[in-house]
Amino acid sequence: MTDHTSEETALGDLFAEAREAPVAPPAALMARIHEDAKRLQPAPPRLASKKPAPARWRDIWQGLGGWPAFSGLATATVAGIWLGVNPPVGMALAAETYLEYETITPVIDLVPESYFDFSAEAL
């Protein structure tokens, strides 16, 4: 028991001695590791630079809606041209119907007893 305790104490002292005498890394190793650190270090984030004032046409372009608006306008233009060049059958019929429809203009004679027949003159 005494022997065991003595060994425990001696071993404890030995561990303490090892803790107090850390194995120092050589300077060359420190330098190599520091070089690795610098070589592999990511670049610092760049601060956002102040943007130049946008050009006048860019303001106008953005005011009109930019590319999304332009693409919609272009699509509508192409579709209109195509319908004009090659209209579908149904569309021609509908156009004739609307264009040949007799126009009725209602006229109300506000002074029926007067000398002038305004309703007749109006027509």
Partner: protein
């Protein structure tokens, strides 16, 4: 960016690592100075050979630099991660060269100790290192982490990926085996039979 961080000694490792990942050159210097001795010392205790320990230390730190941009603060201690990397690298190293001769432990400068005392101290530390080399890898790792690095059992368990109970058992067995290995050098170590 090169301006040293104020109160650098109070800055946790993971905060320095974050600063490193953001390009802070001072953080690179401080992490190197702070962690290289830890990594190299642990590798030396596990391997017993300075040249191999240097290779392991450099490789472990290289992995740290590479993982820095993905490091998640607060999830794990940097040193815990490093101890684990070092242990894995040492295991690989020992598989490649298991029977190489052990180096003598470098003794720190101590002007207050006499030459005789320094020689005795060196002899004791050499004996300890030789006895550690006799232990199985896992026992050696547990004993070094517990009794030389001074870590608590839960942290050792995390490093070794085992339970706290298994850590305690491994450490106890390692310590007994170490005492047996050192018993033949009682005079050098100061062991007494009374």
């Amino acid at each position: 960016m090169d301006k040293p961080l104020e109160h650098a000694q109070d800055v946790p490792d993971d905060a320095l690592l974050l600063a490193y990942a953001n390009g802070d050159a001072a953080a690179a210097s401080m992490l190197t100075a702070r962690l290289t001795p830890v990594v190299f010392g642990h590798a030396y205790r596990l391997l017993g050979r300075r040249a191999d320990a240097e290779d392991v230390a450099q490789e472990a730190m290289l992995r740290l630099w590479k993982i820095a941009p993905q490091w998640r603060q607060g999830e794990a201690k940097v040193t815990t991660w490093l101890y684990r990397v070092v242990a894995n690298l040492c295991t690989d190293q020992l598989r490649r060269a298991p029977h190489a001769a052990l180096d003598a432990v470098a003794e720190p400068e101590d002007s207050t100790a006499s030459v005789t005392q320094q020689m005795q101290s060196r002899a004791r530390l050499d004996a300890l290192q030789s006895a550690l080399a006799c232990l199985p890898d896992r026992q050696r790792q547990a004993v070094v982490l517990r009794h030389i690095e001074g870590l608590a059992n839960p942290e050792i368990a995390e490093i070794m990926d085992i339970t706290v109970e298994a850590t305690e058992s491994l450490t106890a067995r390692g310590k007994r085996a170490l005492a047996r290995a050192l018993s033949s050098q009682k005079d050098a170590l100061g062991f007494t039979d009374d």
